[in-house]
């Protein structure tokens, strides 16, 4: 399959690969997908006192499009509030990376990862 240049760029130079400490108060972790489906994304956000996402990291098991989608999302969420981050749509991701129809699920997974990370962060703080 031919990949777009943007997918190749993210794949070859993935941004923000890594891990924050899961237990930290200011970190939200989202893990979505399943090995059975061939992709698993872990997205982490670090949220400042002002409710703005200061930093993000990811690790992804999956095809090039899945890696690129999650790499892109780490760039996009930085500097956004949680609500703004939740407004990122899979269609935006798919469009930015020029994903072919069979790879749309990768962008859906990346959107789900944002939701899961934000939820995790909110749960940590709501339960207080």
């Amino acid at each position: 399959m031919a990949y777009s240049n943007k997918v190749l760029d993210h794949y070859e130079n993935p941004r923000n690969v890594g891990t924050f400490s899961k237990g930290s108060e200011d970190v939200g972790t989202g893990m979505v997908g399943a090995p059975a489906c061939g992709d698993v994304m872990k997205l982490q956000i670090k949220v400042g006192a002002n409710g703005v996402i200061e930093d993000a990291k990811f690790k992804t098991y999956g095809c090039g499009s899945a890696i690129a989608s999650s790499s892109l999302v780490t760039e996009w969420v930085k500097g956004k509030t949680l609500d703004e981050a939740l407004n990122i749509r899979n269609t935006d991701i798919a469009e930015e990376l020029a994903l072919p129809p069979v790879k749309i699920h990768c962008s859906i997974l990346a959107e789900d990862a944002i939701k899961a990370a934000v939820n995790d962060y909110r749960q940590k703080h709501d339960s207080k």
Partner: protein, 405 residues
């Protein structure tokens, strides 16, 4: 050291290049000797017919049968269709039950599915975790109304060699027609149809350094096997398969099989050396698994799962190598390889497999390059892999509840 040319071709089970000697043999039959082998009234036809019969003898010689038992088809897909549908339809008054194996090529599996739609019953035998058939399970699947058994000789994904001697003996004793898909076997394992109790065998030229679009079907004469033709027309190939013969393709297949017969012993020894070198070079990577039996396997094939690395992203990472992934992620289905699933491989391993197939033109320098590249890229992709991280943290992935989508 000679300069490496990229990408390095390690996908010889998908197809092979036409050997230059084969291409050379074919060319005159496109231009000069263009006659129709069925033309009986002039020398153009006679020349073409002569070439076709020479090629038939060359194919027969590789598998030790009578040339009269070989008919030309467009490839192994057509041979499988003709053999399985043809025999099932001819013998259906005797019974409606067919046995095949879960790890067969789609040309066999899909043909069997079609026969199920026509009212036949098909048993898809499971395999052991090394990819081989359990003979006891096979015996248990036999029924009084079983009319046909189809088992491949060499598997295209994992290269394992099935025991067609024993299966053939059992089928012959019970009067069941036995078909073998040998598309991946020619030039790789010795085939002796005089000794084997095989009734029908499918061949393809392009897996053995011949051209694409040509194949053959062996149809045993003693004891005689009958088939319903699937392609009707001018009655070529004794009515089994109508259509003007593709002389140049046939000449190519004949020459390719002649070379295979002459060179296979030396070639297999060399290729086995390369395969062992590759496996040795890779097996020091952590969490690497060989798929399929190592002993009952053709020299050319190495199918490996690199745990916690997804196959398609790995193929992207090693773009200097032309290999194929057991995982079918390039299609919309997202299904991991059904062959690896049949071996009982878990999801991660089934999604993480790469098939390396080595061939006539593979060099030691290419293998060494592949080993080095894989070490580097596996490391890089594992840094990216949340599954690898969990594994390293001691998490048992089987206990994780995945948010499947």
């Amino acid at each position: 050291m000679t300069q490496l040319k990229f990408p390095i071709y390690l996908d010889y089970s998908a197809t092979t290049p036409v050997d230059p000697r084969v291409a050379e043999a074919m060319i005159p039959y496109l231009t000069e000797h263009f006659g129709n082998p069925a033309s009986r009234s002039h020398s153009f036809g006679w020349t073409a017919e002569h070439a076709v019969e020479d090629a038939r003898a060359q194919v027969a010689a590789l598998v030790n049968c009578d040339p009269k038992e070989i008919i030309w088809t467009s490839g192994a897909t057509e041979s499988d269709n003709l053999a399985i549908k043809g025999a099932a339809q001819f013998y259906k008054s005797r019974g409606q039950h067919i046995i095949t194996v879960k790890t067969e090529h789609k040309a066999v599996l899909d043909t069997c599915r079609e026969l199920e739609r026509q009212g036949f019953e098909v048993t898809y035998l499971p395999v052991l975790d090394n990819g081989l058939i359990d003979i006891e399970a096979f015996k248990a699947a036999l029924r009084p109304d079983t009319i046909l058994v189809s088992v491949m000789l060499v598997n295209n994904e994992i290269g394992v060699i099935q025991d067609i001697v024993q299966i053939g003996d059992i089928c012959r004793e019970k009067g069941i027609v036995f078909h073998v898909d040998a598309a991946q076997a020619t030039g790789k394992v010795h085939i002796d149809l005089e000794a084997l109790k095989v009734d029908l065998m499918s061949f393809s030229a392009h897996k053995t350094y011949g051209p694409k679009g040509i194949g053959a079907l062996y149809i045993r004469r003693k004891p005689r096997v009958r088939l319903e033709a699937q392609m009707h027309g001018g009655g070529h190939e004794r009515g089994f398969r109508s259509g003007t013969l593709a002389t140049h393709q046939i000449v190519g297949m004949g020459e390719a099989f002649r070379l295979a017969r002459e060179e296979m012993d030396a070639e297999n020894e060399r290729i086995l050396g390369l395969r062992n070198r590759l496996w040795q070079g890779l097996s020091d990577i952590e969490e690497v698994y060989l798929n399929g039996d190592l002993a009952a396997r053709v020299a050319h094939n190495l199918n490996v799962s690199f745990n916690f690395v997804e196959g398609e992203s790995l193929i992207m990472a090693i773009k200097e190598l032309a290999v194929s992934s057991g995982s079918a992620c390039t299609s919309a289905s997202l299904e991991p390889s059904y062959v690896l699933r049949a071996l009982g491989r878990n999801d991660e391993l089934a999604h993480s497999s790469i098939r390396f197939t080595i061939g006539r033109f593979t060099t030691e320098a290419e293998i060494d390059f592949a080993i080095k590249l894989l070490h580097e890229k596996i490391g890089k992709l594992r840094e990216l892999s949340p599954l690898w991280e969990m594994f390293k943290d001691g998490v048992d992935l089987n206990t994780v509840e995945w948010a499947a989508h």
